[in-house]
Symmetry: C2
Subunit: 457 residues, 2 copies
């Protein structure tokens, strides 16, 4: 009897299959670089039909398959084990159509996000999905992980951009549902099942994404606050009175102190004596008036004492400098950093920070713990830096942070997904009935468990 | 052995169960009034636990259950058969919490939409979901049908308003997932499965809905166009240059002719000689400038010839008069009207109208066929009025309209759902693999088929 590799080669051609010993190392793991492994083989189909054929054969043989996009994930979701076959969507790339009447773009899964953004822009629209890895990540991976990123507060997560989807099921069945309509209640909205499922329920091959109007103005400010309540009040006021708030990035003082005073930081927008900072961005539709409205709102907030201090970007360079602070690349220069991506109800985030900081300091008195994030989206990032410890401390730190998340009914994953890294903590944010229901879905759609085994659940 | 009614009465108390012969007629059908039936019994639980107990007993007995909300559906989705038990959520009502920091409202399924809107407004927020039946419909029904309504172009469908959900599964398992975070990628987003499933996969008992900032300004206009391409161009231009377009309602000339010249119509905003009309509404955040920006954009469009004629509401009364035209209540005075709710890619809608009108005229030369809808949402409504025919003509008209929808890859249901009325046509808009996948979900979650049998699938 032919091996699964022989069968795949016979059906798809040698050009599509790379045997394990010839598989380049970049397919061995995602950007987390945790537990890389050389897979049994690499399949790189060029068409949906080839994806279908590959899955049909693997399903019959009980062969496990790990789908890969741009490999920019940070949770190990696309990292294979030695006995898995990797199925990369990178050759199933390209834009099939931009429909300017419907305001949609139809793309193949392997399309790089940035090239889809550029095509949308060339057609006069905005593809709202945006994240730091835009130049490497692929749309299929963005949708499979329900990526978040920079504009969620204004446009929602990756899920909210999707109108239609084509998916290949575990047994090779192709489900083509390339809907372009904003409203379609003809039966269950089956695409929702696959969005954010990290490739464990099916492999996304094509998608129809909605496009938005391009913003015509942009205004950016860096503000300081006395307390967290003032931060939330300004968030709601800005959303109400300006509309179009496209970023509301909050930094706790320990984050700002570290970044603003780091030798690699050139511009320090505000003094480092304040308890809270926020980068606020407005993306508006009135280039003649938006900047003045933005300045008026912040000016009034300073006069009222709602903001302690603020600086408004007077150039694109100045706005970029503000973002450089928030992006905090100085963190990457530290020898050992453990990064977290969690979410909590917006009103509870500062209480969480206080508790989490105290728990970390109690256990590791010399630790540097930086708190920051997309607070308008309920999303908090944490960077824990501990001098004099090795990577083995990671699991202990995970336990402390996720225990605080559990205690405050937060989520152990806001936007990065679960993959392998957060799997042990999924039960901190999901109840037994929720997990049982997830397993029921997995069992229904992939009863042999061949799709991305060991991930998420 | 005790009958299922005896078991339910013993477990829940006689107060919760009403035997069939005592069930009020209003529980016999939804607003479509098609095929009313007296159910075996009516259950009206007061708590999630009572819903769970009822389903556990019905599941064990193989007893079918039809969930009911405010019964304002138009597709027969909540109408029981004689051997079904109706489970009304009307007593499981009330607002549990408004979280002003998180901008969320937590409601029980039986809460009337309008009372939730009012509570949100009192707290300084907008609950964006809105439809004509707001005074009668219940949130549970809105979510189970993924209701659309008046503000979809700006805020999305009911699905987009939901952050968390509590659902009781067919076997009585309670899955409580009352998430308040905008970002939460901790595993599958299981709530998506139940939204828009018309009560066939589980019964929604509670929900967390997101709240938006209240608009601070409103501007409304009634415009006339020479052709459909100009309509779509203005839609995209208004979205780009004004932001905040909250309604874009298009009327084909046959609709406008009929409504504007009907004896019950008091105000005719524009002459009836134009091919297309649109009601355009801006909901903005700048009360001092929005009206002027709106007028400037329309003034320029008239000067350029992109609009043939326009009138801008100078008062709330004038805006209401525009809406009265669009709502077209004169249609309800006709003896026999068959209404449709379909969707098509925005660029294809006028081609669809031309074909559909021709097909209807060819078959019924005396028919009046009115086309109108939320075109910015890809949603078209059709009212077919035929003198001298009885209700039996309905199925023939369905066949003609849905055949045109099928030919142009549209959806037989944009926002009204499938229920029993559109079940026969579901295959016009969904492929065999899509339908098979829906059946797989149904089989996984309700293997005994006790939840809302005969609906949707």
């Amino acid at each position: 009897m032919a091996t699964i590799l022989d069968q795949l080669t016979a059906a798809l051609g040698a050009d599509v299959i790379t045997p394990g010993d010839a598989v380049d190392r970049r397919y061995h793991c995602d950007w987390s670089a945790i537990d890389p492994a050389r897979p049994l083989a690499l399949i790189r189909p060029r068409t949906t039909e080839q994806v279908s054929t590959a899955l049909r054969l693997c399903h019959a043989a009980g062969q496990t398959v790990v789908p890969q996009g741009g490999l920019t994930g940070l949770a190990g979701g696309a990292t294979p084990r030695a006995d898995d076959i990797v199925l990369s969507l990178e050759r199933l790339a390209g834009i099939e159509e931009i429909d300017t009447s419907a305001a949609t773009i139809t793309v193949r899964a392997g399309t790089i996000l940035e090239s889809a953004q550029k095509a949308a822009d060339d057609a006069g629209f905005l593809l709202a999905l945006d994240l730091g890895a835009r130049g490497s990540c692929q749309i299929g991976g963005n949708l499979s992980t329900n990526a978040g990123g920079n504009r969620v507060i204004r446009y929602g997560m990756a899920r909210e951009q999707v109108l239609g989807l084509e998916v290949v099921l575990a047994d090779g069945t192709v489900v083509t549902s390339l809907n372009k309509m904003l409203k379609n209640n003809a039966g269950y909205d089956i695409k929702q099942v696959f969005l954010g499922a990290e490739g464990t329920l099916g492999i996304i091959t094509r998608a129809v994404l909605r496009l938005h109007a391009r913003p015509l103005s942009r205004a950016t400010a860096f503000c300081a606050f006395a307390d967290y309540a003032s931060v939330v009040t300004l968030l709601r006021q800005a959303q109400s009175e300006l509309g179009g708030i496209s970023a509301f990035e909050v930094m706790w003082h320990d984050f700002y102190d570290f970044i603003a005073n780091h030798p690699t930081t050139k511009q320090k927008p505000l003094p480092d004596r304040y308890p809270f900072y926020a980068l606020i961005e407005l993306s508006g539709s009135d280039p003649t008036a938006d900047q003045a409205r933005f300045e008026a709102l912040l000016g009034k907030a300073i006069a009222d004492g709602a903001i302690l201090d603020a600086v408004i970007a007077q150039s694109e360079q100045s706005a970029r400098d503000f973002w450089l602070i928030r992006e905090g690349h100085a963190i990457d220069t530290m020898p050992l950093v453990i990064n977290f991506d969690v979410s909590l109800p917006i009103g509870d985030i500062d209480r969480f920070v206080t508790r989490c900081r105290a728990d970390l300091q109690a256990r590791w008195p010399g630790s540097h713990n930086l708190f920051y994030g997309h607070i308008g989206d309920s999303n908090l990032h944490i960077s824990v830096m501990i001098a004099g410890e090795g990577p083995s401390v990671m699991h202990d730190i995970d336990a402390v942070v996720y225990e605080a998340v559990r205690a405050m009914a937060g989520s152990v994953s806001a936007e990065h997904g679960v993959g392998t890294l957060k799997r042990a903590y999924l039960g901190y944010s999901r109840s037994a009935p929720e997990l049982a229901l997830m397993r029921q879905l997995k069992q229904a759609l992939d009863p042999k468990g061949i799709l991305n085994p060991g991930k998420l659940l």
